[in-house]
């Protein structure tokens, strides 16, 4: 498999504190890589190292198969669009003037600029000063600036921060569309739900260390959400299950932990055969915190 981004033992220390510790990132081409972790877990620092905004304390970075360093960065950065921490933009200029700065600096065509602006649907706001933009508009302008160079790799740090639900959904669709168009996207968030549905690869960071890296399915297997059964009489349902099942009554439902798909099928068949009525069987909505609990086996965040 070819990786657009791969790091070997990537670490960043400030004094005695390791902000990023021994990271081996693997981002396959054409995927949406969800980079998850609570605030302060080292996501931004990692992304900044990938862009050579920060030099690693140790370890190596390869992007498009080439080593990323201060020496090689400007050449590689021509194919990488990014948005790190707060969105860029000159407040005293209009959106259009800001895009013109990008156009001049990168030597882009009018069409490339127009395409980027269209992609983030900011066309109607281009003659307004960026100072008067909402956070969501600034965020979208920042993405347009990152997209204008038509990058092969897009690195976005918490792009949904401060956006309303409609804005978040719009970003999700945008990322999906870009990935369908062949762009590799790395996107960070501290909320699983926000990128869970968009990302097909996930990396989970805690305290600067990678807790998990792999596909959504693999994560699901590594950290099974509880199965929740709605039945007319939860007490009766509980009594029908053998004592080995990790099940307990939760309000008007029975919650069963640690069941994989086959286990769930067995359990439901058993209950139906025993004459129980099942209104609904579903997997619990998992928060990132829940996943952490599972992955760390007790949950220190």
């Amino acid at each position: 498999m070819s990786f657009v981004v791969s790091t070997e033992h990537l670490s960043k220390r400030y004094g005695d504190t390791a902000v990023v510790n021994d990271l081996n990132l693997r981002i396959p081409e054409g995927c949406v890589y969800g980079f998850l972790g609570p605030n302060g877990s080292g996501k931004s620092t990692t992304m900044k190292m990938l862009l050579s905004l920060i030099r690693p304390s140790s370890g190596t970075i390869e992007i498009f198969g080439e080593p990323m360093s201060r020496h090689s960065r400007r050449r590689l950065l021509g194919s990488i669009g990014s948005l790190i921490e707060s969105p860029p933009g000159y407040g005293h200029l209009t959106g259009a003037e800001n895009m013109r700065v990008v156009q001049r600096l990168l030597g882009l065509s009018d069409q490339q600029i127009a395409l980027a602006v269209d992609t983030v649907r900011l066309g109607k706001q281009m003659n307004k000063k960026v100072r008067n933009y909402s956070l969501g508009m600034k965020q979208r302008l920042g993405i347009a600036m990152a997209l204008a160079r038509q990058p092969r790799l897009l690195i976005l740090d918490e792009p949904t921060n401060g956006l309303d639900p409609a804005g978040i959904d719009e970003i999700r669709q945008l990322l999906r569309r870009l990935a369908d168009g062949g762009v590799t996207v790395m996107v960070s968030s501290h909320l699983l739900g926000e990128i869970d549905k968009t990302a097909n690869m996930l990396g989970i960071l805690s305290g600067g260390q990678m807790l998990f890296q792999g596909s959504r399915e693999a994560l699901f297997t590594a950290s099974l959400p509880d199965l929740i059964l709605s039945t007319p009489d939860p007490r009766h349902t509980r009594s029908l299950l053998n004592s080995a099942a990790d099940a307990h009554i939760d309000g008007s439902a029975v919650r069963v932990s640690g069941l994989d798909s086959t286990g769930a099928a067995h359990l439901i068949r058993h209950l139906v055969n025993a004459g129980d009525e099942i209104y609904e069987a579903r997997r619990d909505e998992q928060s990132l915190e829940d996943v952490f609990m599972h992955l760390t086996g007790g949950g220190e965040l």
Partner: protein, 248 residues
């Protein structure tokens, strides 16, 4: 060149233009008011007019003006995610530094042209001086613009390093103060290598003030050009090296 054009887009609606227009005009006007208050006329015509405008301007206000312009052109880069965006693009560190210093130098050159224009306008309108300022002043104006390059690069570098608006301007003040000491001490060597003193010395060319003989020799001109060129290159390299190593 493209990076320089990008810089000029950023200068839209910038306060810098006000500084470029007002500073030389105020300097020339205050020189004229002083002359009028003393009930005098510029005895030596354009020479007196130029001397009273340019010499004081070159001692303090010019360096501080460049400092203010530098802080103004860098201010927006320190806001939001602009540093991250600038440093995570394909534009080389060299071009980023050179474009900023270049736009600042062009603004500074504009200030010199306005100084000469203001001298001409005030000389004609207030004192009714005959003819136009001698063409020599055009050459001196160009030389001042060149002599401003090292200070422009230095102040640009300081405003790049310091997020604070005021710190680099305070440095310009201090630098100009030291320059006055050097110029009063009439130390010929040091005056040419200390950027703030270099602009002061250049504004005095042909005026006969401080250590100036009143005549501009080819050696003077070559010294200004050589010193400016050398200091500019050294300071540019320093700025680029700093930015290239900097972590964000």
């Amino acid at each position: 060149m493209q990076a320089l054009r990008a810089e000029f887009i950023k200068l839209k609606r910038s306060l810098s233009w006000t500084v470029v227009f007002l500073l030389p005009l105020v300097m020339v006007l205050s020189g004229a008011v002083n002359t009028l208050m003393a009930g005098e006329q510029p005895d030596d015509g354009w020479h007196t007019m130029w001397l009273r405008s340019a010499v004081f301007y070159g001692l303090f206000p010019l360096a501080v003006g460049i400092g203010i312009l530098a802080s103004l052109v860098w201010r927006s880069e320190h806001q939001g995610g602009n540093w991250n965006a600038l440093m995570s693009g394909p534009t080389s560190t060299w071009r980023i530094v050179a474009a900023k210093a270049g736009s600042l130098s062009l603004l500074t050159a504009g200030m010199q042209i306005l100084l000469l224009s203001s001298v001409a306008a005030v000389g004609k309108l207030v004192f009714g001086l005959p003819g136009m300022p001698p063409p020599d002043y055009l050459g001196i104006t160009a030389l001042i613009a060149v002599a401003c390059l090292p200070v422009a690069v230095l102040q640009s570098g300081l405003s790049m390093i310091f997020r604070s608006f005021a710190v680099p301007i305070a440095v310009a003040f201090t630098g100009a103060g030291l320059a006055v000491v050097l110029l009063l001490a009439e130390l010929p060597g040091l005056v040419w290598v200390f950027p703030y003193a270099l602009i002061g010395r250049t504004t005095q060319l042909g005026t006969g003030t401080f250590a100036d003989s009143g005549h501009i020799s080819a050696v003077d001109v070559l010294t200004v050009l050589g010193a400016s060129g050398l200091l500019t290159v050294v300071l540019l390299f320093g700025s680029v090296a700093w930015l290239e190593r900097k972590d964000f």
